[in-house]
Symmetry: C2
């Protein structure tokens, strides 16, 4: 920077101000400095700036497996949104391991990022608060009953309710749910989780339709993983009498795995039963059959998350209570529920 200042015949401080567009600097001076900077191909040292000012212009995005479609598409959308605000986005993978979550918060988020959009796995609010070290965090699908951080939620309750409503509208009467326990909607720990809210939505619609939900209609899985759903499909198809004519899966990946598993055993969707997913991943559109789903509006989610973070960053009032917004979602009807009643 000294070189730039010398070239522009000003002091280092003036150069610093001019480069960052401080209004106190005269237009003419600023122009001279910018010219000099361009000429010398100068760009400010991030470490030094960050050390001194505590700001880096970098926003972190921390999310579980990036090789799964939903988190990948979500973080891509958030990253674009951050760039649109002139900041740099860096994405990190928590791999659903607490150790990685802690390490990211401790070594990158709190150190380097002005703020982070975080998809919490097994870490607690207390741990986050300590590790974030005062840097603002916006959580995606925060499962806490008492929010401590700003968060953006997916519309689990409304979405699942719509999904089951749609299955009923398609004429389904024996509805199964894949990826959760019926008890998840009442369990104090699971209740506010993605899973709990989606189950609650299912139950609401079933109840409204006068259908009694039964525990055995909820098929839990150890992980939300397409391979597990595929195995479940085999298992379901092999039971002598198919117990369901419609299935709601907690995620699109589960739905696609399930459809594949059923297919491998001769049960076809939508011919033999209807399937609805949740998330709206791109893959569902070109799958055969294409997947009916509750599609979360990822642009909307990204916008709300980034806006919440920027509000905190510019925030005059650091102590205002955490906000909680919900991303839009809509039912996208495709082939997987195209049943002749």
């Amino acid at each position: 920077m000294s070189d730039v200042a010398k070239e522009a015949q000003v002091s280092r401080a003036t150069a610093s101000y001019a480069l960052r567009g401080d209004t106190r600097i005269a237009d003419d001076t600023r122009r001279r400095v910018l010219l000099a900077a361009r000429k010398l191909r100068y760009s400010a040292n991030l470490s030094a700036r960050s050390l001194r000012s505590g700001k880096s212009g970098i926003i972190g995005v921390a999310i579980f497996e990036l090789d799964k479609p939903y988190p990948a598409q979500m973080s891509a959308a958030i990253s674009r949104q951050i760039n649109a605000h002139g900041m740099q986005a860096i994405i990190q993978q928590t791999s659903n391991s607490k150790q990685d979550e802690v390490s990211i918060l401790r070594h990158v988020t709190s150190q380097l990022c002005d703020g982070t959009i975080f998809s919490p796995g097994s870490i607690t609010n207390e741990e986050m608060q300590e590790l974030a070290d005062g840097k603002p965090l916006v959580l995606l699908d925060d499962p806490s009953a008492e929010p401590v951080f700003d968060s953006v939620m997916t519309a689990g309750f409304e979405g699942a309710a719509m999904a089951v409503r749609h299955l009923l509208d398609c004429g389904c009467r024996r509805i199964g749910v894949v990826g959760a326990d019926m008890a998840d909607s009442t369990d104090p720990v699971q209740r506010h989780s993605v899973r709990g809210r989606r189950v609650a939505g299912c139950l609401k619609t079933l109840k409204a339709a006068g259908i009694e939900a039964r525990r055995e209609d909820f098929l839990s899985l150890d992980r939300w993983d397409g391979e597990m759903a595929r195995d479940l499909g085999h298992h379901l198809a092999d039971t002598t009498d198919l117990p369901f004519d419609g299935i709601f899966c907690m995620t699109d990946s589960l739905a696609l795995g399930l459809i594949r598993g059923l297919h491998e055993c001769g049960v076809e969707v939508p011919r033999d039963l209807a399937v609805v997913g949740f998330d709206g991943i791109q893959e569902g559109e070109s799958y055969i059959p294409s997947l009916t789903t509750i599609s979360t509006d990822k642009e909307d989610l990204a916008r709300k998350a980034v806006d919440a973070l920027l509000a905190r960053l510019q925030g005059d009032d650091d102590n205002r209570p955490p906000t909680r917004t919900t991303a839009g979602c809509r039912l996208v009807v495709r082939e997987s529920t195209a049943r002749i009643r």
Copy 2:
């Protein structure tokens, strides 16, 4: 750090050495320092460390669209590999825009990362060299004729040759190629690109089989995008006589889009023609029909890329010529080529 030093009753310098495991510090002293650090929940300030030492322990991964399966799965693998070496990985999206590529190199890579694994889009070697500012770069599928940086390649030539060989083995005689021009293998600019190498592989196998390649069997697309392939599928299916009995697609995403497009017009894979993709994305496994593909070994690619970067980082000899390695790949035969001859 002063606090830690005081707590451990040593000087700040000693604390610094002890924390980083310098051998000069007596075991006993080190233990005292580590204990103090833990007690005070101290962790070193990244900006300060990086400003002073020029090292951050962070490796960058810059890749085009993260919402596409192949780059997402690749960067996830690289990120895990970096973590396995005890370093932090940050992923950035170039969105295939030169502006983003420049911005990432200028503001993050050269400033913050000890090195970067970079998937070049439209940026030139000269620009990278200037922007990287001495920080090592490892390129993924570097298209340059004269490499300037270390790089890891996918086995485009061998893979494509295998793919077409497999189509021939399945009894296909009228083979189409989707996503490239025949001229790409000879065009001086495209020749070393992913596209050019894959086309060259096709041509080699065809020639060896005594089949003359025709320009019109190569169906170019503006972008490697599933939607474009889907449209192409419509178009192909609508021609009175299906011109191909086997198609090799430049990528799995193209293959899935194409199969879907054909399906929408009543042409079924593999019944009416066989399709092979390239990349080995997870989605191909559970698609209906499951996709035969040339699967790039992503773990191998990640390992080679990270090893090359670490070698440069520890490198005694900064001037040794750039290395170029190739990731393994294998033919994975699935339903999309299961034809009765």
